[in-house]
């Protein structure tokens, strides 16, 4: 059974159709790269998975249970959407760290707020918060940022900020971790350190969806690749096949531009 099963997603902005009949599935421990030119709908697709946009059609199922069905308003209640979001983590292109909190607090904040809903929170407050903090420190250490735990985002480089953002997303243990062009706001030098982190997550079999323009990275790290154009999936398959031996003319055109560059 796949972790994620997306069927026939369709999304309009006004009268513009940005996603059309998007279907794919993702197995536990796999990394999926979504490639395609700007405006092809990649980011919108990720945003639909994270409930930042509401698809007009289609279903999304996680671990076999349908968490979104465009035809069933019961699956779209705001109160439940909040919990359903936790199946997914999202790392943004522009990091979106909370500037008023330290790196550590950025990682732990959401977890602390969730913990407040636990019935035993009042009794074991100190212990719970200590555990959350310890876990936050461990995550930052994994990202190579243990020295930076008490720094504010403005005191960190772009690459460090993005690694904090990855730790923040991991803190909630999402079933599927999504990256929306995680290195597009970084210069080449900083790109490397972020890609290294994502690569190690892939090696640890983290289930991931990565929207990226880094073709070599997609080929080496992802198990599956989806190529999107004009809101539809043009081609999907094993990463090496799609990137090195694309079947579709449109995919070839797109990839040749990267080969030249």
């Amino acid at each position: 059974m796949p972790v994620l099963d997306v069927q026939h997603i369709e999304k309009h902005f006004g009268s513009t159709r940005v996603l059309e009949d998007i279907s794919f599935s993702l197995d536990q421990g796999q990394a999926l790269a979504i490639i395609g030119s700007s405006g092809s709908g990649k980011t919108t697709l990720l945003r639909c998975l994270n409930f930042l946009e509401k698809p007009d059609q289609g279903t999304i199922a996680v671990n076999g249970s349908v968490i979104f069905d465009a035809a069933d308003p019961d699956t779209q209640k705001e109160s439940e959407v909040r919990k359903k979001r936790l199946h997914f983590g999202l790392v943004f292109q522009s990091f979106n760290l909370f500037p008023q909190y330290t790196a550590l607090k950025n990682v732990t904040l959401a977890k602390e707020l969730l913990a407040q809903e636990r019935p035993d929170f009042k009794q074991n407050k100190k212990q719970i918060l200590d555990e959350i903090e310890a876990e936050g420190r461990t995550l930052l250490e994994k990202m190579g940022l243990s020295e930076r735990a008490n720094h504010y985002p403005s005191q960190l480089s772009g690459g460090q900020q993005q690694r904090v953002a990855i730790a923040r997303a991991l803190a909630l243990h999402p079933d599927i971790l999504c990256f929306d062009e995680p290195t597009s706001a970084l210069d080449p030098e900083l790109t490397g350190e972020v890609l290294k982190v994502i690569r190690s997550l892939a090696e640890q079999k983290t289930t991931m969806i990565i929207v990226t323009h880094e073709m070599a990275f997609a080929r080496d790290v992802a198990d599956q690749v989806i190529f999107m154009d004009g809101g539809v999936i043009v081609e999907q398959g094993p990463a090496r096949d799609v990137i090195e031996r694309p079947k579709e003319e449109r995919t070839r055109q797109f990839l040749s531009r990267y080969a030249q560059g």
Binding site: L52, R82, R85, L90, N96, Q100, L114, A169
Partner: protein, 267 residues
């Protein structure tokens, strides 16, 4: 000179008393208008559009029927789009802000103090004497300043990048948690300079309340011209009141500078 030294303690005593009234009105206005302004800000940002769903639904049904009958689809026209965009709460709050910001505070003071007495059967609802004047002035100032504050708040909230809210959403935070833990402090940082302007203006605007005989510091100073505490014909106490405003606003300026510095640890 002797006459001046003789009058000085009497004048300072009276002005101190007047300035205490000034400060009282200032403090009560802040306590009321700061939260009320936030409420008005939320109201004027409301996206509630009760007609959007029915209109969309009507068009969808119409187009389904049209498709069955193999007739062309119709998209919403100008009237339908206006109905979809109709946001009554936002409209109402922005209307109130327009009226309050669009008319003089002095007029609002007069209306709030005198009009209820004319239109209500039981006469003026305000307590008689000084408490009534203070209450009426406080109500007028709170409403007036809440409207100004609301616009500053709105600017502050809208100035926080939408990505901050989205980051909170994908981390499973509720709307309230996002506002309290993510947006609020960033908003406060943004609004300190414009709020300091407005709050310093408020200190001086309190003197408008003398139009309904609220005995604030300028009223107390002016009284020595007409006759008060056995002294009359003195003009300098009136000008002397300026010192009170200047010193107090100097303290406020220091306070705002301190707050700005406190919040400069993040960007």
């Amino acid at each position: 000179m002797d006459k001046f030294l003789e009058a000085l303690p009497v004048v300072v005593n009276a002005l101190n008393e007047g300035f205490l009234q000034t400060l009282k009105l200032f403090a009560v206005t802040l306590v009321g208008a700061l939260p009320l302004g936030l409420l008005i800000a939320f109201g004027s940002m409301s996206r509630l559009a009760p007609l959007a769903r029915p209109v969309h639904w009507w068009f969808r049904r119409r187009n389904q029927k049209a498709a069955q009958a193999q007739q062309p689809e119709r998209s919403p026209g100008r009237i339908a789009r206006a109905l979809i965009a109709f946001q009554p709460i936002r409209l109402l709050f922005r209307l109130v802000v327009w009226v309050i910001r669009g008319t003089p505070l002095m007029l609002q003071l007069l209306i709030i103090f005198y009009i209820p007495g004319y239109v209500l059967d039981g006469g003026s609802p305000w307590p008689s004497g000084d408490p009534g004047r203070f209450l009426a002035a406080a109500v007028a100032f709170i409403i007036n300043y809440a409207c100004y504050f609301s616009v500053i708040y709105r600017g502050g909230i809208e100035g926080v990048p939408v990505g901050q809210q989205e980051a909170g959403q994908v981390l499973g935070m509720t709307k309230g948690q996002i506002f309290r833990h993510v947006t609020l402090l960033q908003m406060i940082k943004r609004i300190v300079p414009p709020m300091s302007n407005e709050i310093i203006t408020l200190v001086k605007d309190t003197s408008l309340a003398r139009i309904i005989s609220f005995q604030e510091v300028i009223w107390a100073g002016y009284a020595f011209l007409k006759g008060s505490h056995g002294i009359s014909g003195l003009i300098w106490p009136l000008f002397f009141t300026g010192l009170y405003f200047l010193v107090f606003n100097g303290l406020l300026t220091l306070l705002f500078g301190w707050v700005e510095k406190k919040l400069s640890y993040f960007q």
